[in-house]
């Protein structure tokens, strides 16, 4: 009758539920959440878009001068991620030479527009 | 038959069916021909104690279609029995009468590769949609989804 005993213990104790919108669920630091791009660091190498398994990253025009290894590069493209297409696998982060694209430990959003992009 | 299996034992038993080689630790590969497959598996079951079929793998190597039967048993070795089939009208006798689980794998291969297993009465559509065209086998290398093909009543566009 361990079920009965535990049932009544639970009835008298506090529930363990996290009242989500009021109190936040702890998110570990390693959590792979929403994708983010630091535009200053990006050298436009297209590695992330090549490696993305979901083909969520497209390269759009973004001419800019960037520093890389002490040299000044003239990049032409920058990445654009379709937020709802991203599978948060972290391959772009793993293969980015400068750490410009990375996954924040934040929750992604939800919305009515399926075409939202992160640039 | 519980002790470990050595290459010599397998080669001795399988002499008439084809040559055996030790590909890596615990894996013995036997190459044989389609008409001998039934007897090879029977011998492996009876003489070498292989009571379990792990899987039947089908490979399209662009010249021929290959079937590889992976068997194991209490000796924990894996016997791979490999055969090659021609690409046009591939057919092979079924093994589902001696290995009941083979029926599922055969149906799956029949659906995706178009290999006919003679004697298996139940080779119905298995993985694909009901209205998938009858002569298209998606896992063959030369198969490409046509740009204007309709599957499932829906035009499938490819990017």
């Amino acid at each position: 009758m361990s079920v009965l005993r535990e049932m009544f213990e639970n009835l008298l104790s506090r529930p363990i539920t996290i009242l989500y919108p009021k109190e936040k669920v702890p998110i570990p630091g390693a959590f792979r959440g929403r994708v983010a791009i630091t535009d200053e660091k990006c050298i436009g190498c297209s590695k992330c878009s090549l490696v993305c398994p979901a083909r969520a990253i497209t390269m759009i025009d973004g001419p800019r001068e960037v520093e890389f290894n002490g040299k000044t590069l003239n990049r032409k493209k920058r990445p654009q991620v379709k937020l709802y297409k991203c599978i948060r696998c972290g391959l772009c982060e793993r293969h980015c030479p400068t750490g410009a694209i990375f996954l924040k430990n934040e929750l992604s959003s939800s919305g009515t527009d399926g075409e939202i992009v992160v640039t | 038959m519980t002790g470990p299996l050595t290459l010599d034992m397998v080669a001795g038993k399988m002499k008439e069916f084809g040559n055996s080689e030790l590909v890596r630790k615990n894996r013995i590969r036997i190459t044989t021909t389609p008409d001998k497959v039934h007897d090879t598996i029977k011998t492996a079951q009876a003489m070498l104690g292989c009571d379990r079929l792990i899987t039947i793998s089908a490979v399209d190597n662009t010249r021929t279609l290959e079937l590889i039967y992976h068997l194991t048993g209490p000796h924990r070795m894996v016997l791979s029995i490999a055969i090659e089939l021609t690409r046009d009208q591939p057919a092979i006798p079924t093994t589902s009468d001696i290995l009941p689980p083979a029926a599922i794998y055969e149906r799956q291969i029949h659906d995706l590769f178009g290999i006919t297993f003679t004697g298996n009465t139940n080779l119905n559509r298995i993985m694909l949609n009901e209205d998938w065209p009858a002569n298209e086998f998606p896992l063959r290398k030369d198969w490409k989804p046509g740009p204007d093909t309709f599957y499932g009543g829906i035009k499938v566009e490819r990017t």
């Binding site: 390693a30 | 899987t55 924990r76 894996v78 998606p138 829906i154």
Partner: protein, 393 residues
């Protein structure tokens, strides 16, 4: 009594995944059944031939959400063996830890689902509550609750920090206590006993003959366990036992799974305490040499086999995934005959079906007599006269 065909699925509350059973019943007794598993076919094997080794791992991980680490490890292991890479021991240990945590979460999940299909929602809630501890550990280590993304060819992507190891070790005693409670509950709870005992019986001979794998086979006394038979990762170093049972029914499968929870806990603890130092990956070459391998892996549901053939490029020529569920399907149809309709969800759940891995059809009885088929789908089709056409883009 006339035979009635009940078509269950693909949308059905007992089935969290699309599958269709056409069950022929007489009264409440099952006469025979036809399984239709093709609703989930995606063509992963074809896609795997078209993607390189970097991009194929996330794809294979998503073959199944529950045993995602199993698929990616089986593939990475096979490719490493073809490339003859020496994976560092620390990577092997980390892979083992994740694999065993995955087994624990899968078995706890299964216990909950088994309780749910017999309507015992309380146990369902409790097991899933305790599963959260495992999920938290995995999330801290890998960064995601379900698709871990830990593997890459040549090692693992993330290292374990000492803080993560201590946090994981701290969670284990609590889990241990809970597992003890579940052993107690399963052996003493009356409704579970009457629904599980003697249901879906499979003798040892049948289990061998129909090629069952994993806990289903071990519940019938067949001690096949790939981790012992063909040791991979760190299993050769870790002391652990194969759990078997002689009952052969759903009760036996429950006991095997709870026993494996216990063993997994032991393995995780050993690996965390004896985590070797060193690098976590070696750099893999871009192309793999020509070769082939049958990579076997003991997934939570049973033996998973990836047959990999490479052809010297950075893509595989063929990867053939044989999932444990597919190997177990034949035995389900054997167990189900002459059982009660009410037992169908229990027996099907007892092999822990993972249909997204499997996605295949099997039609068991070839001499199907013509009966009055009243399928749910057809009824619905008759019921609603609205537009049935699909939306064209």
């Amino acid at each position: 009594m006339p035979e009635v065909v009940v078509s269950i699925g693909p949308h059905h509350p007992a089935l969290k995944e699309p599958v269709n059973f056409k069950v022929v019943i007489e009264g409440e007794k099952i006469v025979r059944l036809e399984l239709d598993l093709s609703y989930n076919h995606r063509g992963v094997e074809k896609a795997a031939e078209q993607r390189d080794f970097i991009r194929v791992l996330p794809l294979l991980e998503r073959v199944c959400g529950i045993c995602s680490h199993a698929h990616s490890t089986a593939f990475a292991k096979g490719i490493e063996e073809i490339m003859q890479l020496e994976v560092p021991p620390r990577a092997q240990y980390i892979r083992t830890i994740i694999a065993e945590l995955e087994r624990m979460h899968s078995h706890l999940l299964w216990l909950g689902v088994a309780a749910h299909v017999i309507g015992f929602n309380t146990l369902f809630m409790w097991t899933w509550r305790d599963r959260e501890a495992v999920q938290d550990t995995v999330e801290e280590m890998s960064g995601n609750r379900v698709h871990y993304g830990m593997n890459e060819v040549g090692g693992v992507r993330r290292d374990l920090t000492p803080a993560q190891v201590t946090a994981a070790l701290e969670r284990l005693p609590n889990l241990e206590e809970r597992i003890k409670k579940y052993v107690d509950m399963v052996n003493s709870e009356e409704t579970m006993l009457i629904r599980f005992r003697g249901v879906g019986k499979l003798s040892k001979e049948e289990a061998l003959r129909y090629g069952t794998v994993g806990p289903t086979a071990r519940a019938s006394g067949v001690d096949y366990d790939t981790r012992k038979d063909d040791p991979y990762l760190a299993y050769a170093d870790v002391p652990w036992n194969v759990v078997t049972d002689t009952n052969g029914d759903v009760y036996g499968r429950t006991r095997v799974r709870i026993g494996e929870l216990w063993e997994s806990l032991k393995i995780v603890r050993y690996c965390l305490e004896n985590l070797p130092e060193g690098p976590i990956r070696v750099t893999a070459p871009r192309n793999a040499p020509t070769g082939e391998i049958l990579s076997r892996y003991e997934a939570p549901r049973g033996e998973l086999a990836h047959f990999i053939r490479t052809n010297g490029t950075d893509k595989v020529e063929r990867v053939d995934i044989r999932t444990p569920t597919l190997a177990n399907w034949t035995s389900v149809a054997i167990c189900l005959v002459n059982q009660n309709l009410a037992d169908l969800p229990v027996i099907v759940a007892a092999i822990d079906p993972c249909l997204s891995c499997t996605s295949r059809i099997t039609l068991l009885d070839s001499q199907t007599k013509k009966t009055g088929v009243m399928s749910f789908d057809e009824l619905i089709r008759r019921n609603r006269s609205r537009d049935q056409g699909l939306v064209r883009p």
